[in-house]
């Protein structure tokens, strides 16, 4: 009888416990959000009319479902001239075609979308479409396609929600484009270096109304005119009427004497090509000073010893 009663009580306790878990459970929230996008940039050269299409992939890299909404936001080059962006408002952008964002669409298969839902680890292939009518003016548009996560259910506590967004940048250049034009604003290195690597500062200005993608290199020759080093510049995009800093480094560690660095820069595949030379000197002052001091100390010591003898 006692055993039966005990079992009964035990089951009753278990029942109450389970029920309490079911009834008084607290809401669980996604820990965080993790998103991936490819490609990070679209460089588009077009002449109206055109029906531009290119694939775009968004991935939920997290372990919780995520709802995303799609926004377009214009940007300009950041003040640091380092290739980073600064978002501006659409009104500030003062686009020649104020309806340009209505011509940009994201498609999931045959359906235009402005929102989408992704399961954990799901990857979705989308299509970027831009329909340019015949009378579209020749100009550039720089904007991001931003995937923004939705808001979370609010909680009954003092809290701050976090919304995550990830962007893919679009450099849309509508032609016809004229000849690339610009200038080298700065090509410099320290005049005197102790040792390598040797840094070069290269600032290039694009003076046209379309973005350009210059490429070039620096050839380093020694005092005898022999080419002893070559630095290929990372190809970068320079937005219309802006300056970009494209600093590079000659990785040579041991340098000694006078050197000439010759920069050759092509603003586009069809030119123009600009050249600029600088001279710098390398001398290991600290090492030399240490050796000299060492020698002086030895000489002093030897003289002292001889004097005593």
């Amino acid at each position: 009888m006692n055993l039966k009663l005990r079992i009964k009580n035990l089951l009753l306790i278990l029942f109450i416990l389970n029920s309490s878990f079911l009834i008084f459970h607290s809401k669980a929230f996604a820990q965080g959000t993790s998103l991936g996008v490819y490609p990070p940039i679209f460089q588009i050269d077009a002449t109206a009319p055109a029906n531009i299409q290119a694939p775009l992939t968004i991935e939920n890299q997290g372990n919780d479902p995520v709802n995303l909404r799609i926004e377009f936001r214009p940007f300009v080059s950041s003040d640091q001239e380092d290739g980073q962006i600064k978002y501006i408002r659409e009104l500030e952008a003062n686009f020649e075609d104020p309806l340009i964002f209505q011509r940009v669409k994201i498609f999931d298969g045959a359906n235009q979308i402005t929102t989408l839902s992704l399961s954990p680890q799901q990857k979705k292939d989308l299509t970027l479409r831009i329909d340019l009518p015949r009378d579209e003016p020749a100009t550039d548009y720089y904007f991001s396609i931003i995937f923004l996560s939705g808001e979370n259910p609010s909680i009954e506590s003092n809290s701050s929600q976090s919304v995550s967004g990830i962007a893919s940048n679009v450099l849309l250049s509508i032609g016809p484009k004229g000849k690339a034009n610009g200038n080298i604003q700065e090509f410099s290195s320290p005049f005197l270096v102790e040792k390598g690597p040797v840094p070069f500062t290269i600032r290039v200005k694009n003076t046209t109304n379309h973005f350009i993608s210059p490429q070039g290199n620096i050839l380093i020759t020694n005092i005898f005119g022999q080419t002893i080093g070559r630095v290929d510049l990372a190809q970068t995009n320079i937005l219309a009427n802006t300056v970009r800093n494209n600093s590079s480094v000659w990785p040579e560690k041991f340098v000694l004497g006078a050197y000439k660095a010759k920069l050759t820069l092509a603003l586009s595949d069809s030119g123009p090509i600009y050249k600029r030379d600088i001279i710098f000197f390398a001398f290991p002052f600290k090492t030399t000073a240490a050796i000299l001091l060492g020698l002086l100390a030895i000489i002093y010591f030897v003289v002292k010893v001889k004097t005593k003898l």
Partner: protein
């Protein structure tokens, strides 16, 4: 014994009827894939009358697309020989729960932001809040720090328990990508939408660049009781 069996039966039925649905943490079928380091897949040449896609195997959105009157270069393979790797961004906490806030007892909470620039040369993470922490009783204003000198673009020391408000600071965990100005105990206020303020930045890129954001709230004794909330938006953008 019959009663016991009856109780077990009832309990089983109860559990079956009132279970809460649970989502699988990781799913995999023809639509989903196991997480990879990037978004690349095998692909071939695709074309129609409007456009032509041509690239090497191993890329989902491989580079060159052309059609009537246009040419698209997608990704950085034409400007950098670093391959086609996805740009990714993660935030560790979707909700920062401050719990109970008592006057002159600052509450701090942390969240991590992680960026992998992939093939992009650099990135920027900007943030903005939709409003200061707001409740029925009013708002907890954005901090101005100890001397009233900090705002959304300038950090200052905030150590006094008599300086009230809501703000954040950034500390580098992996890489040195926090916006400048966050000396020890220095805080900033979040920019108010539509303004944006840079939280992390890099002009070189990199993988798994992680920064820790510390949110801080401190209220005065006159702060009306209530639940205060807001939304902070973070946008990660690759460089160009």
């Amino acid at each position: 014994m019959k009663k016991i069996l009856f109780l077990i039966f009832l309990f089983s039925i109860y559990c079956l009827l009132f279970t809460i649905s649970a989502n699988a943490q990781t799913m995999s079928n023809s639509s989903y894939i196991i997480k990879m380091g990037n978004l690349n897949d095998a692909s071939g040449d695709v074309s129609n009358s409007q456009y032509k896609l041509s690239e090497t195997v191993g890329q989902t959105s491989p580079g060159l697309y052309s059609g009537t009157n246009y040419l698209v270069k997608a990704g950085f393979q034409y400007v950098r020989p670093t391959g086609n790797i996805a740009f990714s961004f993660a935030i560790s906490q979707n909700i920062i729960d401050f719990g109970v806030i008592t006057p002159t007892n600052p509450v701090t909470r942390t969240t991590n932001l992680t960026v992998s620039a992939g093939s992009a040369k650099g990135f920027t993470v900007v943030s903005s809040e939709n409003k200061p922490l707001t409740g029925i009783g009013g708002t907890i204003p954005d901090t101005t720090c100890d001397l009233g000198t900090c705002n959304s673009s300038k950090a200052s020391a905030w150590t006094s328990s008599l300086a009230y408000g809501f703000g954040y600071r950034c500390d580098n965990i992996s890489g040195t990508n926090c916006a400048s100005g966050f000396s020890d105990s220095f805080y900033k206020a979040f920019a108010l939408t539509p303004s944006l303020q840079t939280v992390m930045t890099s002009n070189t890129g990199g993988t798994s660049r992680k920064s820790q954001l510390t949110y801080k709230v401190n209220v005065s004794g006159t702060q009306p009781p209530g639940i205060y909330t807001n939304i902070v938006t973070y946008i990660a953008s690759p460089g160009f």
